[in-house]
Symmetry: C2
Subunit: 417 residues, 2 copies
């Protein structure tokens, strides 16, 4: 089974948005054993869209298209596919009702052009869109299959997961199972170095390292006749990797550090509180992004100014004067302060220089202190996150500070509770 | 002048990395008036790469390729291009010296296969790589031109800026200038509805709406012989759009709402403070993501638990009991409270139900209150952000709450200061 990905949208063609859809779909297809040899991006143009579709179907059995399903006159994908399969367009009543319902629910007026979104090629399997208005669809003549999904990733991804995987799995006969091992505090190349021989010697499952911002991931993928066979192949590999890299592993098949932290806190019945300077709320935002985090998190203070550090968190003026706001001592007092006022089991703080300004020779941009305060564990970690002067250095320093703070909390829970 | 973008790499095809190169190149080409109708991704495969190159040159004068310039046997881009132009490969001594120098500099051993990177199609213009090892190149027969750049974005982007813009500008005679008008509180389809006739009647400049999460953008693009001519064409269009959509416009050619807010605060010499419940720190994170925000922002409190709302922000227990944490009254008291303890000019609060749990028939998921407290403006905005049941509904509710809070602050500054 061979597929192509055809993304439609002038905003992609002009580079106004990055094509994250293609990467997402490619990865999902690889995981279920569907080969992809080409990805194409084409604008909202009738003729070129038609040419691209013809070309794609000359090379593949399945063409997965994103974009061009919206309400405006330059949204042409459905019409082009209907023409290719030589079927007429007709109103799908369920889609029309659903779009009307959506506008009613959000209390907005439904403009006339939105009705276009309920027009479907005759014979299509309609994928309802619970994440927006434009429905998706699959259309097949038994040999060739087109799958159409809306362009916004926030709609495309959940629809792919909800409908397309299922639709395609019925057409495939191979099963792939992957486990994603997530690591913190070690880079992709060091992982490859430590695992090199083992990775080389293993062909099923395969072991592949991936770099993520500030962290790394190892994907172990087995191929077999069913899920059970795959999982049997994977188990000893995970065990071996745990022996070699255990200290860096923070979870398997979990989305991120904040998930690990919130789950560990829940499990142990603990609460954390945050006192943030350089991360400006990012740390509390990460924690509270997790559903149910309100059971483990009551309170965060973003103390950007010195007087807030002293007034709200109780950092001593003498500490701020003597050591400065970006210092081990201030980080420690911030963590102790937020723990005291919140009554949480663990207080965690960040203070540092995110840049682009504010660096000094002694404390350059990227100098960050993470404070931990708890009954059994009291420490300050100094980070040096500088080195990449770029447009988003500020973001990188803040992001990696928040990640390090989360990992520090995780270590505290795992070692001391 | 018409170009195509052809990105080579199995890691792109499998979705292991997102194709940020294509977006970058597309944007740069649009800015210098080079049309792009297609972007293609193909793997490290001889035959398919050759086919893709043939196809691209059947449709365009310039093909810009990324990837496949490395030292390994499956790096095939140069060889494929040399074959297309029917020229032999030869060693470029300057490149060889430069690669040797690079390895010496980083103190690593240069393996034999790295010499392959100094092989160039005869007659190519070589682009030295100061950011890595693989040089880029341009090869032309006077009619068709291939431009080859390395795949890692950290090498490709600076090389594009350093060499390719210059190389292409000499071939082009058209200039494009765009203005991006950013709008909040109005959707793409409503914009199109309101501007439809005007958009249709305008061909230079063109007017195109784009949907962004929770907001919208209008791009006005003029084509002319120079920048001045383009800007003359754009000015009356911006004026007209301002007449029709002025209430929704928060800025032109600025990156986002937080930028607008921080700049307005700086300009007026005002400070804002945040009291967040449902947004969990996202609002303060947005504000502090802006360099220099420390001059307009001292303090934020993330009061996730009720007792923090009362203890730190001074929300009355009777208010919490009578109206609940998610209420107009609590939002108002949170905003007043944070303003009082911080001494800021404007206090802004968020309280709501982000989901997935916690919704009730009276206050479903997505019910959010934004409070504003300042000397001249005191109000609470009720939002209904439900209707998008998805994996990331929680994120969407939080994100759009933070955006609405920022827009409310902007309105307060613009109308009352």
């Amino acid at each position: 089974m061979r597929a192509e990905i055809l993304c439609v949208g002038t905003e992609l063609l002009l580079g106004d948005i990055v094509n994250t859809n293609a990467a997402y779909i490619a990865k999902e297809l690889a995981a279920i054993g569907v080969d992809v040899y080409y990805q194409t991006v084409v604008g909202d143009n009738n003729e070129r869209l038609e040419e691209s579709l013809n070309l794609a179907f000359s090379r593949a059995d399945i063409v997965i298209m994103t974009g061009g399903l919206g309400p405006t006159y330059d949204d042409l994908t459905k019409e082009t596919v209907a023409k290719y399969f030589n079927v007429p367009m007709e109103v799908d009543q369920a889609s029309l009702d659903s779009i009307r319902g959506f506008f009613k629910k959000i209390g907005a007026e439904m403009t006339k052009n939105n009705e276009k979104q309920a027009l479907m090629p005759k014979g299509a399997t309609v994928f309802h869109n619970n994440w927006g208005t434009a429905p998706g669809l699959a259309l097949t003549d038994g040999k060739l299959t087109a799958i159409l999904l809306p362009g916004p990733p926030g709609e495309m991804k959940p629809m792919f997961a909800a409908y397309v995987i299922d639709y395609l799995s019925k057409m495939s006969n191979k099963v792939l199972v992957s486990k994603n091992i997530r690591l913190f505090g070690i880079g992709e190349s060091k992982i490859e170095d430590m695992l090199h021989d083992y990775m080389k010697s293993s062909s099923n499952p395969t072991i592949a390292p991936y770099a993520k911002i500030g962290e790394a991931m190892l994907r172990v993928t087995a191929s077999g006749k069913d899920k059970e066979e795959c999982e049997k192949l994977i188990a000893p590999v995970i065990k071996k990797i745990n022996e070699i890299l255990g200290d860096y592993i923070y979870g398997i098949d979990i989305p991120n550090l904040q998930y690990a932290v919130v789950e560990e806190l829940k499990e142990k019945g603990l609460k954390v509180a945050t006192a943030e300077s350089c991360t400006g709320g990012m740390l509390s935002e990460f924690i509270t992004s997790m559903p149910g985090s309100s059971t483990v998190f009551d309170c965060g203070v973003c103390s950007y100014a010195n007087n807030v550090k002293s007034k709200l968190l109780g950092v001593r003026d003498s500490t701020l004067e003597k050591y400065g706001a970006v210092s081990e001592q201030t980080a420690a007092e911030m963590a102790a302060g937020i723990r005291a006022i919140s009554g949480a089991d663990i207080g965690v703080s960040t203070t540092g220089i995110a840049g682009p300004d504010g660096g000094t020779p002694e404390k350059p941009v990227g100098t960050v202190y993470i404070g931990i305060d708890s009954e059994n564990d009291r420490r300050v970690i100094k980070l040096n996150l500088s080195g990449r002067r770029s447009d988003n250095e500020r973001y990188m320093v803040r992001y990696r500070s928040a990640q390090n703070a989360l990992f520090a909390v995780l270590e505290t829970i795992r070692k001391h509770y």
